[in-house]
């Protein structure tokens, strides 16, 4: 029920912030989506969409963070050996 799907904003139309809509591409499927709740969304933004509404603009820098976290874990492992103490 709380499923939200990421998609890329292709075009935006409408001036009234409440009625602003975008055509959003979900890996080949394009749907019209309300931007009422993400006024900051721009063409090219990735948004998370739930029941026809964009609920957030994906922060692309933060999206990489889990992979940095993984790299960090691997570094700590290497440094301390397989059963190393946690450092934080």
């Amino acid at each position: 029920m709380c499923l939200a799907v990421p998609g890329r904003v292709l075009t935006i139309s409408g001036d009234d912030p409440i009625m602003r809509v975008a055509r959003v591409d979900f890996g080949g499927i394009v749907k019209e989506i309300s931007l009422a709740y993400t006024p900051e969304a721009a063409v090219g933004s990735y948004v998370l969409v739930h029941v026809g509404f964009s609920i957030t603009v994906i922060d692309e820098a933060e999206a990489e963070r889990v992979f940095e976290y993984l790299a960090e874990i691997s570094d700590i492992e290497e440094e301390l050996g397989v059963r190393g103490e946690r450092t934080t």
């Binding site: 029920m1 709380c2 499923l3 939200a4 799907v5 990421p6 890329r8 409440i18 979900f26 890996g27 309300s34 009422a36 709740y37 993400t38 006024p39 990735y46 998370l48 739930h50 029941v51 026809g52 509404f53 609920i55 957030t56 994906i58 922060d59 692309e60 933060e62 999206a63 963070r65 889990v66 992979f67 976290y69 993984l70 874990i73 691997s74 492992e77 397989v82 059963r83 190393g84 946690r86 934080t88």
Partner: protein
């Protein structure tokens, strides 16, 4: 698909599984709040990758599952009136009321339409000015702004034949209810990432402190869930009880403020009964006084409180995390997705449906 596939990478999953194993020295019991997370956990077998003793308990985070029987009865009653069109998300159609479900009402001739977005119900209302169009609004905080927008726009354009039957529920009061239960065994929460995308996470900070329970705002892909588990276990092992945000690509501290603003205008907080759990104070959303004209209960009569019919279904215990679906004697035999006894088997995000879909064969064989 970008921002999805990379979070399912098997190699990265293995690294995190290893990190969790190294971080864990004792048994811990965590609850994932959201049904979407439950679904992913069972689908990808994430629970089976965790060290022995680390238990993921499935939470009440399926709004379809917790909608009480009397609300379903009201929806069926409204749909059965002449000149009404009841619009609903598809998940609600097979949720049992006291006598049957919306799908049965539809088969008997009621005009019930499945919509993808609440705005679709507005389109139907505009196209059918001589009929009453009712949107059956179910959902958590994730869905509430979308549903609020339908009412907001209806008022703005003076759409008189549109109203809403509001069955909204709020997540933090249910988490508090679980932590306050005398038999509570939940030591940490993976909080619902999309609920927090809307609401932010400041309101969890007093809860983490008061109950001394780590709360990690967590996403929905395998890597998200495993990172959430890792952060929660690190806190538990170190004796910390903080709010951490794993799902930072989507969730910001203050949440989505334009969405909260429309919610505040359209809705007010009300007490709500949760199926299988009971009444929880300030745990639901009803229409605000200014929007009372759009309240289906004002037009068609209030929901009459009604007890759940007696049944061997244990969905209430499953929703609170007291039992696993497989501990139910009816699971997979007298209760299946085709012939469900209760909501947790009906909804695609219900814990029983997830176990049946992804583990049904193995369970039957074993």
């Amino acid at each position: 698909m970008r921002f999805r596939d990379e979070y399912r990478d098997p190699e990265a999953v293995q690294k995190l599984v290893g990190a969790i194993a190294r971080a864990t020295t004792r048994p811990w019991t965590l609850m994932e709040v959201c049904g979407g997370q439950t679904h992913a956990i069972i689908r990808y077998g994430i629970d089976e990758l965790l060290p022995a003793g680390v238990t993921l308990v499935h939470g009440p985070g399926c709004p379809v599952c917790v909608t009480p029987v009397d609300h379903v009865d009201k929806a069926i009653e409204i749909a059965g009136r002449p000149d009404t069109i009841l619009c609903s998300f598809g998940d609600m159609l097979r949720v049992p009321g006291t006598n049957g479900d919306l799908l049965g009402a539809k088969a008997r001739g009621a005009d019930i339409r499945i919509v993808y977005s609440p705005l679709d119900a507005l389109v139907i209302a505009r196209a059918n000015p001589s009929r009453e169009v009712i949107f059956y609004a179910v959902g958590f905080e994730t869905t509430a702004p979308a549903n609020a927008m339908a009412v907001y726009q209806a008022k703005r354009e003076g759409l008189r034949n549109f109203s809403m039957l509001a069955s909204h529920v709020l997540v933090p009061p249910a988490m508090r209810a679980i932590l306050s239960a005398p038999r509570n065994r939940i030591q940490a929460f993976l909080a619902a990432g999309h609920v927090c995308t809307i609401m932010g996470f400041e309101e969890y900070e007093p809860m983490a402190a008061e109950f001394h329970v780590p709360i990690v705002i967590t996403g929905f892909e395998p890597l998200d869930i495993l990172e959430g588990v890792h952060l929660a276990i690190r806190q538990l092992e170190e004796g910390r009880a903080e709010v951490e945000n794993q799902y930072r690509r989507s969730v910001r501290r203050l949440g989505n403020e334009p969405a909260q603003e429309i919610m505040r205008q359209v809705f007010r907080v009300v007490k709500r009964r949760w199926r299988g759990i009971g009444e929880i104070a300030e745990s639901g959303l009803g229409l605000a006084e200014d929007y009372r004209g759009f309240d289906a209960e004002a037009r068609f009569g209030a929901v009459v409180p009604r007890e759940e019919p007696a049944s061997e279904c244990i969905s209430g215990l499953v929703l609170c995390g007291d039992r696993k679906p497989t501990q139910c004697p009816a699971f997979g035999t007298r209760c299946t997705p085709d012939h469900p006894l209760g909501v947790t088997m009906v909804s695609t995000e219900g814990a029983c449906a997830a176990y049946h879909r992804y583990r049904g064969v193995a369970l039957a064989a074993g």
